[in-house]
Symmetry: D2
């Protein structure tokens, strides 16, 4: 029986790992998880407990999130994680290490896999985002990892460009779709009851906006404009606006202030903190459009065939499935884009027909099928003979 | 005054850094050095003391070399170094981090530079060596570093291939040549006296062979064949053989056993442990050829216009300036190659004319001139907007 | 010039170090500070900035506070601190390490001093508090430290009991009194204005109560009772109640809930979050009594000649200067004790005459005078020849 | 089933743990071992493999031995061990941590036990040795550990003196005797054959001398004198001298040089590097006396009823069972003491009657019987209410 040791540091990334790990178990792999970073923080609700409840064996809890906002936090954190994970990896002797993305746990896992001679599977390589310290990390991970699962064909091609061997790369698509597909349908009546907000007699749009690290100062004002634009548009068309709270990155305090002011000013606006996943998914299923700047609009909305209005620079440059309108912070532009997203029937019909570049709900199976056929005795998987 | 914090873990890499740091000081930079890894080990002669004697300020001594031969050594070692270096980098607030190559200190420095937002200069990127865990590290460093000094034009091009911005790359050539050029000449009489071995009345060839991590088991037998071939060839032509002990990598014990046997069997053979640099350089200046598998044969011999016989797989695939014959472990092939290297006057004349792809003794000046013109306030140096 | 490296992790402990460090500087020592733990946390207001403003050189910032409430936090934190502080101590080569109390930084500093062969001064040994994991740490520090500054004669005697050499022990008394003595007087009018609460026309009592780790569950109810008792007593005598928020230990949330309820119920009660030190000290100078369970009541109130009502188990067993009444959670007992503290003129007169076992404002001078006469070349200071 | 997690860093200390762990298993405890430090070093023969062969589950391998002779080695090493062991302890959730002595693993384990709230058993407390950095560590461990197993009644009393609760202390005696008792007898003919040295026709004395950290410079000269004295005495009485190589502490190089010279000079002298335990034990069983300064002479020789000549300061001040003569570095004094040890029949008879203060082969059973009756739910074991 082959063993996979997955490494995860935060809820969002675990949501992607979860269906893959379940598929690994289904296909007879032994699975265990090293949890670290934000999962172990009270401030982040100790999300490691969810992983335990999901039935995975916790190989180790590796504390590496330092309580500071200085730049040392992530730098020293990577060091602590590498030191701790080395201990775990030697004891567990997994056949595969598995990690996602561009964060501290990604680079730490790839470094450990490289030196400990354990095949390392990296999910999400070749996806160029620009503007923060995560981006080069993602590409450094690709140079270190032995096996690449890319979420789009274009990203797989980027991995070829930077010199990775073709046979190490799988275009698996986005593994989180199977999660979404598995969530049971809820009626609008149920949702309305849960939210205590009428989205039965009226249609609604959804607003979800995070701060951007290079525009922290402007985040409050930007949110005010976004709220104004959405509520005005909604009033014109007798719609409701369902808002979702931002993540906890710097700038979020200012956004929350604007949320509170907005809720007092506009009766057609209501914001929600953390919604159970099955509620959130059903809100997205039923909304006319998603406005804001969530990565969901890029990566998951195509799966729902949902038109998206992306406001500002966040997500700019990522692969657009054809469902996203990018607009700047200008009220009339935003309203125009909302108009198109909600009521332009040609556009909406075209989105129904889009071919999702991020794959479909078969990603997890593709990944495990690919890994299964790997001969872990074959040294060519461990030693790269092509690097550029 | 701008400040450079160099990070070094071992003598060989410090030899490359030394002339660059001297040039930085000459051009008005403040220089300090974080020493780590083998420099701090008694088993490696505490080479950090040499750095102190050279007059550089030691910013911190960061212990990270664990006393074990298990794979955990390098993996956990990187973690410890990142943790320690983060502390140093925050205190020193250098304008630039400077590191060489493909070892633990290379990746640790690039990770710290990335998260601590300090411009990181990486020397030696784009040079594809294959067969061990260092190779992917070198390329991961290139994805993280902000400024690249490549030692050959072909290597600079490899950096472009993997998606680095053109304006971040300098083809500086090999910085160690200035070291070599500065070593005073010694006569063969002086060398002979120092070695207590006659290389005045007779010409000599030099043998320097290290183990290869993927061929550890064969290292003894391979050395035996190399010694046999060299001494037989030498006897035929009335030459001496000057041997140098290998590095301490796994397999070296078996090599040393063969050295001891060889010295008893062959009167024209004598091996030396560690030679002072000024002796070693002058031995190379006067030898007919260098046999074995040292990286010197590839990277430095072109500077001496010296023919080289590279035996076995180590160094295979690196850029050949035209002075290297690659042969396998076959006595007649080795002897043939030695014959050509020592006595084929056409071949030797052509080597005198070679254009060295690894540059010349101006590398250090090129590097410092390049760094000097960088505006450290300009954020485009810090944030990569091209990654593939 | 001799050098002292002080190690500090939190504001409260730095308040004790500050006047000692100033005295060291005054007497010609070089002083530097390694800051760690809560000082570096945003959640704790980055108090390291205050140390910088006070003009001390920061030797290193050593992140060791992990963002988790699991028990691993303090355990792994000590490990990180030892690793980081070793690096600092080797570079700085201080003549003395200086640390206070019973926390992670205390044990880490004493371990580093022991192995790095640096004379270690420990403040606050021999003071037995019971009930949490800090207590054995304090006594382990005493076995490791080379020089002991005890805050009371009884505590100095405890150090003798556990086998420490007499000549290593100074009964310095509590060093924080010099801080208090230096704070300028403020009139009650000024205080009243600052607090926006009338303490001019009416006398007042002060309430400051922290949670206790072994009674976390009861902390809310205990606070409710304390508030009830104080406000009832105050109403009877036409007094005001000035409350201070608790520290952030587990149980504090429940206390804060009761504070909020109390402020709505009782008009003669007002609570304050963090008061500037000069305001706080002057409130204490003018209050009739201090109720609650702050260590201030034990350690500092004797200096003010202030009667204290200590409610519950916290502080029980510490040396009572004669100014503290211990009562349990029983309203009539509390009110009785408040009555005695505020209005029993015999008792209050006796407190004015108390001999403070915790010393006076000469502590810092005593400490530096003691250290000054130590011959750091004399090996008997480094090697203990009496351990029990 | 209750679980014990033992922590061990070096062969000598594991020899003490081994019979205790076997007894724990016999009495139904689950046992696992965290190995660290020298056990994981190639230079120390990777002794962790012996632990695996002995059938114990390795909970984790925790690298913490840094490859340097600077003082940072042990200081930073403790930090790394605490960090790694915290991870192990949280995962394993043992009922008891178990550790021996006065080394890095002792203090690291006691710190982890204290903060992680795991009952910590410390073996060997209250035994005052003087002269190096280990000694205060031993006593700091006693202040932190929850349960003490002392190897002599006098040591148990020392623990009372430093304020430990009576009911936490067991005078178990030395656990290693059961090891010795279990080693099968070998005839002198067998030994002679193994050593290739005649100890059949002649009686012999045994010499085992280590360096002392405070007398490193003198270690060569001291060894020369010891060898001279032993061989002269042996010649006079027609005896042989069986020598054992020293440990690897600083000073050992000089000792080894004298060993080599001595073996050339004296035909009745032969030294041995590492002897299998069953050979070594039988040599001790048959020798006339043990000369030198091994702790064996103090702690184990009483079990053999063996007279010992302790030369120099090492071991001075430890409890003498009546079998040890302490002499200084003076040839006639040494020879006199050897004379008494080998041939004074009154003295030898008295030693046969000695009451061993270090107990007997029942120590392991005593320890496990004591631990077994502990109610791990009873919080008084975890929280010390007596500290001085």
């Amino acid at each position: 029986m082959r063993k996979v040791l997955a490494v995860t540091g935060i809820r969002s990334e675990y949501d992607i790992l979860y269906p893959i790990l379940k598929e690994f178990e289904k296909q007879g792999f032994e699975v265990c998880v090293a949890v670290c970073n934000a999962h172990l923080s009270d401030a982040q609700n100790n999300t490691y407990k969810k992983i335990e409840k999901d039935g995975f064996r916790i190989a180790d809890k590796i504390d590496c999130l330092l309580s500071t906002d200085r730049l040392t936090q992530r730098s020293k954190g990577v060091g602590l994680l590498i030191a701790g994970l080395t201990q775990t990896a030697e004891r567990e002797k997994p056949d595969f290490l598995l990690v996602v993305g561009d964060r501290e746990e990604s680079i730490a896992t790839c470094v450990v896999g490289n030196y400990m001679d354990i095949l390392t599977i990296h999910l999400g390589g070749g996806d160029p985002v620009y503007g923060n310290s995560d981006d080069p990390i993602r590409f450094a991970c690709s140079k270190l990892a032995h096996i690449h699962c890319a979420t789009a064909d274009e990203y797989a091609k980027n991995l070829l460009k930077i010199g990775e061997d073709n046979w190490r790369i799988l275009n698996s698509g986005n593994p989180s779709y199977v999660n979404i597909a598995n969530i049971p349908q809820k009626t609008r009546e149920e949702l309305s009851g849960f939210l205590n907000f009428d989205i039965v007699s009226k249609d609604y749009i959804t607003l979800l906006k995070h701060p951007l690290s290079s525009e922290v100062e402007e985040s409050g004002e930007q949110m005010r404009l976004a709220i104004q634009s959405c509520t005005e548009f909604a009033q014109t068309h007798n719609l409701q606006v369902v808002g979702i709270y931002p993540n906890t990155d710097p700038g979020s305090y200012k956004i929350i202030e604007e949320i509170k002011k907005g809720e007092e000013l506009y009766p057609n606006l209501k914001f929600f903190k953390t919604l159970p996943r099955e509620v959130f998914i059903n809100i997205i299923r039923n909304t006319l459009t998603l406005a804001g700047n969530s990565s969901m609009g890029i990566l998951e909305a195509p799966f729902y065939k949902l038109p998206v209005v992306n406001i500002g620079n966040r997500q700019k440059g990522r692969l657009n499935a054809g469902n996203v309108e990018f607009v700047d912070y200008n009220k009339s532009h935003i309203i125009q884009a909302l108009q198109k997203a909600c009521f332009n029937q040609n556009y909406r019909a075209k989105i129904q027909e889009l071919k999702n570049p991020y794959g479909d709900e078969t990603s997890c199976k593709k990944i495990v099928d690919f890994i299964k056929q790997i001969d872990t005795q074959d040294r060519r998987w461990y030693v790269k003979t092509k690097l550029c």
